[in-house]
């Protein structure tokens, strides 16, 4: 039954219509949602951006990454440091933050690409922790207390400050992330990721530099993560090392795997489930996380390749 529903939405035209309908609904939603719900939805949209970024690494290129929060942290801290410690303008601080994320992508990607997936998982996990510990111990990142009073972005005289403003910012980011993901997937680089994932030797025989292609996946993923981090920092106005824990990396990875690796609608769905799931179960109190875990186990048992997996005819 559910597969027939997906098959119906497999046509690109219907998918576009569905997406536009969702965007319109999302754009109108703050009119009826309260502050609490809007804030949660903002968080879900942040996770859409992060999950789509990690999807490039995990879903497209087939590389495991357990330290994705590190890229998110690099984006957030770059903005925090430049605006708080050096009094930079928020918008001017974005390019250096993206450059920092790219460098982080190369640093994690470069030495790890020779590793097989299980070792890769351990190294990326370590990298995530190194970034967090670095942030906790460095003067410039404000040690364990982190950075606060990150200024609110001023957009041609309009100060982006309310929770509704940030809801729309993240909605915009998520839309851009979806379009970017889609375009990457249907490009020379996107195909190269799939070739390398499917058969590295055959890909190399076709003249594809596998190291470079994988590196490009890490760097692209890190740029998505950094965008999430940049506006996350602006939204909260304060960041601390604990915002970028291992748990964050796992949650984003769960969104990707749960929804269906490699498939954009699946990943979006996964991100919403990861964030909204525990909220919907909130009145169950202590039991909610347990119940959520059980539901996720069931999903993985019943639909091992995700709720809305990549399916090729």
């Amino acid at each position: 039954m559910i597969d027939r529903l997906y098959a119906y939405f497999d046509s690109p035209r219907r998918q576009t219509i569905l997406l536009i309908a969702i965007v319109v609904l999302m754009a109108l939603a703050p009119l009826v949602m309260g502050r609490y719900m809007t804030t949660i939805m903002t968080n879900a949209l942040l996770y859409v951006v992060l999950a789509l970024g990690l999807n490039v690494v995990v879903g497209y290129a087939g590389l495991l990454d357990l330290g994705y929060a590190a890229f998110f942290a690099v984006g957030a801290y770059s903005i925090g440091i430049l605006t708080v410690q050096f009094d930079w303008n928020f918008w001017l601080a974005i390019p250096p933050a993206l450059v920092a994320a790219c460098i982080a992508g190369v640093i994690i990607g470069g030495p790890t690409l020779r590793l097989r997936s299980d070792y890769l998982a351990i190294v990326t996990l370590g990298f995530g922790e190194i970034v967090r510990f670095g942030a906790r111990n460095l003067e410039i990142t404000g040690r364990a207390t982190g950075l606060s009073n990150i200024p609110e972005p001023n957009f041609f005289g309009y100060v982006i400050s309310s929770y509704v403003d940030f809801y729309y910012i993240f909605l915009l980011l998520a839309i851009v992330a979806v379009i970017a993901s889609h375009r990457l997937y249907h490009s020379r680089l996107g195909r190269a990721w799939l070739y390398v994932r499917h058969d590295e030797d055959a890909a190399e025989a076709m003249g594809i530099n596998r190291v470079r292609v994988k590196l490009a996946a890490y760097v692209t993923g890190s740029v998505f993560g950094a965008f999430g981090g940049i506006f996350f920092a602006a939204n909260l106005g304060a960041i601390s090392p604990e915002s970028f824990s291992f748990e964050q990396s796992v949650l984003v990875l769960m969104a990707v795997i749960l929804g269906g690796m490699g498939k954009i609608p699946g990943v979006i769905l996964g991100a919403f489930i990861i964030i909204l799931g525990p909220e919907l179960l909130r009145n169950l109190g202590e039991l909610r996380l347990l119940l959520f875990a059980v539901v996720m186990l069931l999903i993985m048992l019943l639909r091992p390749s995700g709720i809305w997996p990549e399916r090729r005819h």
């Binding site: 020379r188 195909r191 799939l194 190399e204 025989a205 530099n209 596998r210 490009a216 090729r312």
Partner: protein
């Protein structure tokens, strides 16, 4: 010589797989490499294409040293290959498979893809055109949108050749392209190999066990046995060479049908 090997020696854990191999392929020629099972034919292919790294010797292609270069570099220099066991990207369409060959002739990256720059769009169109052309050339264009894995085996082999042609090579290495094909398909393959050379001016080097096909199609034949080149020449010369007959002696299968 387009491809020139000199004294190439490859050892695996003390075993000499290729022993001072001298070997060459002329531009625009049809050549074959034959020999009993385990003679080192595929190892020689892998050494040329950078998958194996011979310890000694020299390999030149168009005057460029390619020994111990990475496979993707070798492909960029203009050598394409197919695999003994068809290695298509099974879960991708025929079109996407053939497009893979164009990767090394194009350059758009993440930026171009995300912003759909004019250069990137023109390049995508170019990739599609070349892919269509190559699919048409081998005769699989009507299956462009099918998943590679859903194609009959004979067609999968053709897709692999189309993919290799899409890298725009000067030399194409075919590793047992006739294996698993029926008589009609083999006849079509002979035709295709000739067209690759005649219409595209691409040199072909073939590993093949079907002697009928080898004799029919090759201008030069090299015989490899125990990692050594034991004979080379035209079909007629090789057929009557006592060393070749000896190498195949005792092999009571169809390979004897020289």
């Amino acid at each position: 010589m387009l491809l020139d090997l000199e004294q190439v020696t490859l050892r695996f854990a003390g075993n000499t797989v290729l022993d001072k191999v001298d070997f060459g392929v002329e531009a625009g020629s049809l050549a074959s490499l034959i020999g009993p099972n385990g003679a080192g034919k595929t190892s020689l292919f892998n050494s040329i294409t950078g998958f194996y790294r011979p310890q000694e010797g020299r390999i030149e292609f168009n005057g460029e040293r390619i020994l111990r270069r990475k496979p993707h570099k070798v492909t960029q220099f203009g050598i394409a290959r197919t695999f003994q066991n068809v290695r298509l990207f099974r879960e991708m369409s025929v079109m996407e498979n053939v497009m893979a060959g164009m990767h090394c002739r194009t350059r758009a990256g993440a930026f171009g893809a995300v912003f759909r720059t004019p250069g990137q769009r023109a390049e995508e169109q170019y990739i599609a055109e070349v892919a269509h052309d190559c699919m048409k050339f081998v005769g699989v264009d009507e299956y462009a949108d099918r998943l590679a894995t859903n194609l009959a085996y004979g067609y999968q082999r053709l897709v692999e050749i189309a993919r290799a042609l899409a890298t725009q090579p000067q030399l194409i290495l075919l590793d047992e392209p006739a294996a698993g094909l029926n008589g009609t398909e083999k006849a079509a393959l002979v035709e295709l190999i000739r067209r690759i050379r005649d219409e595209r001016n691409v040199a072909v080097l073939l590993i093949e066990h079907d002697m009928g096909l080898v004799m029919q199609v090759s201008e030069h034949i090299h015989v490899l046995d125990y990692g050594r080149i034991i004979a080379k020449g035209t079909a007629e010369q090789v057929k009557n060479d006592p060393k070749v007959i000896e190498a195949y002696l005792g092999q009571e299968d169809e390979e004897m049908a020289l």
